[in-house]
C-alpha cells in the first residue's frame, strides 16, 4: 500500500486517538489529528492529505465549514468523510451537497470506518 496521509479532525481526544490507532493497524500509519476546526484548516492549507475524516461539531469551525473551505477556497477534491451524531436528513443532505464523499453517524463501528476509508482510497 502506498503511503497515504490522512487527517482526522475530532475534538474528542479519546476518540481521535482510537481512530488513528485503528487506521494505523489497517496499514494507514501516516495519520495526523486536528483537535479543532481552525487547526484543521491550517493543517489542510499546509499539507496535501489523501483523505480527511472530520467530526461535524468542532470548536472554531464545523466539519461543514471545513468541507466548504476545502472544496470552495482550496478547490481540492480530497475525499472527505463526515462523522456526526446528527443523522438527520437535512444534515446528511447538506453535507453531500457541499461535496463530502461519505457520512457516518455516531455511534459508528471503527471497523466500518476502515472499510469506508479503504473504499474511498481505492484499496478495496
Amino acid at each position: 500500500m502506498e503511503i497515504v496521509k490522512i487527517l482526522i479532525c475530532e475534538d474528542d481526544e479519546a476518540l481521535s486517538s482510537l481512530i488513528r490507532f485503528k487506521l494505523s493497524r489497517a496499514g494507514y500509519r501516516n495519520c495526523e489529528v486536528a483537535a479543532d476546526g481552525k487547526k484543521a484548516k491550517e493543517m489542510i492549507q499546509d499539507n496535501e492529505y489523501d483523505l480527511v475524516i472530520t467530526d461535524i461539531h468542532m470548536p472554531y469551525a464545523s466539519g461543514l465549514e471545513l468541507t466548504t473551505y476545502i472544496r470552495e477556497e482550496l478547490k481540492r477534491q480530497t475525499p472527505i468523510i463526515i462523522l456526526s451524531s446528527e443523522g438527520v436528513e437535512n444534515t446528511v443532505l447538506q453535507s453531500f451537497n457541499l461535496g463530502i464523499n461519505d457520512f457516518l453517524t455516531k455511534p459508528f463501528s471503527p471497523q466500518e470506518l476502515v472499510i469506508r476509508v479503504k473504499r474511498l482510497l481505492g484499496h478495496q
Binding site: A14, L15, F108, S109, P110, Q111
Partner: protein, 352 residues
C-alpha cells in the same frame, strides 16, 4: 462592609472553581496521554486478536492501565473517557468497553458514587452504571426510584431500563412520577437503542391499575408499531380515564383496521369531550367504511369548527366524494361553516 466581603467571597469562589476546572482539564489531557497507547492497544487487540499470545499481551496492558489509575480522581476521568468512546462507537467495542470497566474495578467507584450523599455524585454514579450496563448495580440504582430530586429519579428510571434487560419497565410497578415529555422520549430511545422494546411484556402492563402506565404502554405500542397488541389495546377504549381513551384512539389511527370502526363510532357519539371526538373522527377516517360515513353525515350540525372540519375530511377520506354526499343532505347556502369546511378539502394544499 458586608457587601464587600460577599463580593470578595464570590471572586475567590469563582477563582477556586476556575482553578479546579483547569486542573481537571489538564489532568484529563495528561492521563489520556499516559494511558492512550495501552488503552488503544487493549481495545484493538481485544477485537482483532485471539489466542494465547494475545491473552498475555492483553493481561499486561490491563495491568498497565490499572497501575496508572492511581486514585479515584483519575479513575473518574478515565470512566469519562470510556463513556465518551461508548457513546461514539458501536459494534466490536461494545462488550470490550463493558468488560474493561468491570476488569479495572471502575464499577466499584460508580457504586460508591451512586450511594453517596451528594446528589451530583449519585446522578453520575447511576449514569456510569447505566452506560456500562453493569447489571449487578441494579439494586444500587433501584433505591433511588423515590428520590426527592426529579433529576435523580429520571436518571434512575432510564438506568433501570438499561439494567433490567430481562424485564424492562419493571420499575413502572413501583414508580410512575413526574414523567416528563423528555423522560418518555428517553425511555423510548433507550428501548429502541437497546433493542429491548420487543421484550417488554405489554399485555402485562396493559392490566396495570395505574392509568398513566396503561396510556404510556399504548403509546409505546404505537411508537414501535406493535400491531400484534391491537386486540388488547382496543379493549381499553371504554376505559374510565380519558388519557387512556385518547391513547387507544391514537393507536387505532396508526394501527387499527375495519374491526375498530363500530367501537370507535359508538365511542364518538357517546363522548362529550371535543378533543376525543376529533381523535375518534381521525381514527374513523383511517378505519371507517360506508356505515361510518352514514353516521358521520348525521354529525355535521356541530357548532365546533375543528370537529366539523375533521368530520368533513374523514367523510372525504373514506368515501372520496364528500361534497356530493353532503349536498344530498344539507343546503350549503344555509350552512356556511359546512361550505367552508368543504372548500378546505377541495383545496389540495389543505389536505396535507
Amino acid at each position: 462592609m458586608l457587601m464587600a466581603t460577599a463580593a470578595i467571597g464570590v471572586v475567590i469562589l469563582i477563582g477556586v472553581l476556575k482553578v479546579r476546572k483547569k486542573h481537571r482539564y489538564e489532568s484529563e489531557k495528561s492521563l489520556l496521554k499516559v494511558i492512550e497507547k495501552d488503552l488503544n492497544n487493549y481495545l484493538i487487540s481485544s477485537t482483532e486478536n485471539e489466542g494465547l499470545k494475545w491473552k498475555s499481551v492483553h493481561h499486561y496492558q490491563l495491568n498497565e492501565i490499572k497501575a496508572k489509575l492511581e486514585n479515584n480522581f483519575l479513575k473518574g476521568i478515565f470512566i469519562g473517557h470510556l463513556i465518551s468512546l461508548r457513546k461514539n462507537l458501536y459494534g466490536e467495542f461494545d462488550e470490550v468497553l463493558e468488560d474493561l470497566y468491570e476488569l479495572l474495578g471502575l464499577h466499584e467507584l460508580s457504586i460508591k458514587k451512586a450511594n453517596s450523599r451528594r446528589m451530583a455524585s449519585v446522578v453520575r454514579g447511576i449514569h456510569e452504571l447505566s452506560q456500562f450496563e453493569y447489571k449487578s448495580g441494579y439494586h444500587h440504582v433501584l433505591q433511588h426510584l423515590g428520590h426527592s430530586s426529579q433529576i435523580v429519579r429520571q436518571e434512575t428510571q432510564v438506568a433501570l431500563l438499561n439494567l433490567s434487560a430481562g424485564s424492562p419497565l419493571f420499575f413502572l410497578k413501583t414508580s410512575w412520577k413526574d414523567l416528563s415529555g423528555w423522560h418518555i422520549l428517553s425511555l423510548h430511545h433507550t428501548l429502541l437503542r437497546t433493542g429491548l422494546a420487543h421484550r417488554v411484556q405489554y399485555d402485562y402492563w396493559l392490566r396495570n391499575p395505574n392509568w398513566e402506565v396503561r396510556a404510556f404502554i399504548i403509546d409505546m405500542c404505537v411508537f414501535f408499531r406493535l400491531v400484534a397488541h391491537m386486540d388488547n389495546i382496543r379493549g381499553h377504549l371504554f376505559s374510565d380515564e380519558y388519557q387512556v381513551q385518547a391513547a387507544v384512539l391514537r393507536a387505532v389511527t396508526e394501527m387499527g383496521d375495519d374491526r375498530d370502526a363500530p367501537g370507535v363510532y359508538k365511542f364518538l357519539v357517546n363522548t362529550d369531550r371535543q378533543d376525543l371526538k376529533i381523535l375518534s373522527i381521525n381514527a374513523l377516517a383511517k378505519v371507517g367504511g360506508p356505515d361510518e360515513v352514514e353516521g358521520l353525515l348525521t354529525l355535521l350540525e356541530t357548532d365546533h369548527s375543528d370537529t366539523l372540519l375533521a368530520t368533513v375530511m374523514a367523510i372525504e377520506e373514506i368515501s372520496g366524494n364528500a361534497e356530493e354526499l353532503i349536498r344530498k343532505s344539507y343546503d350549503l347556502q344555509s350552512h356556511i361553516h359546512l361550505a367552508t369546511s368543504l372548500a378546505h378539502i377541495k383545496e389540495p394544499l389543505n389536505n396535507s
